[in-house]
Amino acid sequence: MRAATRSVTLAALALASLVASGCGADSASAGVAPAPVVTRVIAASDLRFAFDELLDTRFRSDHPECDVQVSYGSSGQAFSQLSEGAPFDLFLSADIDYATRLVESGHALRGSVFPYARGRLVLWAKRDAGLGVGERGAAALMDERVRHIAIANPEHAPYGRAAEAALRSLGLYDALSAKLVRGANVAQTASLVESGSAEIGIVALSLAKAPSMRSGDVFELPLTSYPALRQGGVVILGHPGQRCAQSLADFMQTEPARHVLAGWGFLPWAGER
């Protein structure tokens, strides 16, 4: 039993020190105001960094009564969860059609669909890979060193559908389809390339601007090569955080919000086709 006791103690110490050290304050602490309402947002993963900044710079301080909790994922996955009654209050989709369909199916508040941005697609590869993405653009995809090309899954990620469309319109799809690897959503796609599992990827510009993605070269794919990424949101019915969701939806359409989004590479879009 002695040897076991020793290893148990060591492991317990490791555990304890880890918990102690890893304590960087992370989760939003409860506000000073009494009992803030939990407002659950499910957002497209290309919004990861942009939306966090939006919340932190203006919304949280202006609305201490709202405890906003965000989950990110692919818009298609979010759509199917919301169709099953997932308890979210606000949906920010990378494809406004998902939002509209939720109104039609009765899961979302009629009249609350709103546009908030137009997304942009980029090629991304690590600078160290030496593919020269910045100079060669789409030609870098054909480099013989490229074994895997990461895109988001077109089945349920709008950025994945756009990536596939871009490859087709560039005439590269047939040649490269065998090398495609599909991330569950566009953020996971970015991490596939960043971690080196794929040599190059087609990701959202908003993600490429993240600090952790600074190690890469970016090339924006022409906006005409893929159907516009029309991003919109909608308030979800039936859950307690609806009022805060509405406030957040309104906030998304204000000038300061648009300014932040623009800083992350989003193009303004007011709903016109």
């Binding site: 490791a14 555990l15 918990v19 890893g22 992370d26 909790q69 969860q81 993240a210």
Partner: protein, 219 residues
Amino acid sequence: MDLGALSLSLKLASLTTACLLLLGVPFAAWLAFRPRRLNALIEALASLPMVLPPTVLGYYLLVAFAPDSWLGRGFEALVGSRLAFSFAGLWLGSMIYSLPFALAPTLAAFRGLDRTLLEAAATLGAGPLRTFFRVVLPSAWPGVLAGAVLAFAHTMGEFGVVLMIGGNLPSETRTLSISLYDQMQSLDYDGASHTALLLLAISFLALSVTHGFGRRGAR
């Protein structure tokens, strides 16, 4: 490090383990001490989640407990929330998924007992309950504990089932392993490595404990 996710995982693992002990120990005793021809089949069913891909389990749970099914309605009536996107749903998934891990060492410990001890207890006038608590448990407790520790560690690390039915709701279904997945997608590698290290430490701790008890039991 997401403390909310840590506390959620701890809560889930503790609750699952406690319930598995309460239900699993009598179940293991029933399997070990009342042999029936059906036993092999029942054991296979109970062990099924060990080899079942977690996504399959998640899928069948979602289908079986869909809101308009009678199972789903019953669940909602009993627990107060639906199976999908709720902590209660995670609990049910964990119970099923970790059952074989709790059952196997406990069952082995019960089976490894000398049967004549039980017969001796009977000749001395002890009924089944007294025999269980005075004769079986004092000898077999290392196995029971090993089962509990394994179930705890397994639930802590659970990912596939949680992903399928949880919905990644912070504070409600974002467990530590989901949090790790999230951190990877946020490219927050620092946070991810802390989380991963913590999960690793927990697994290692669980293994050391079960090995220590394994040796104790063998004496």
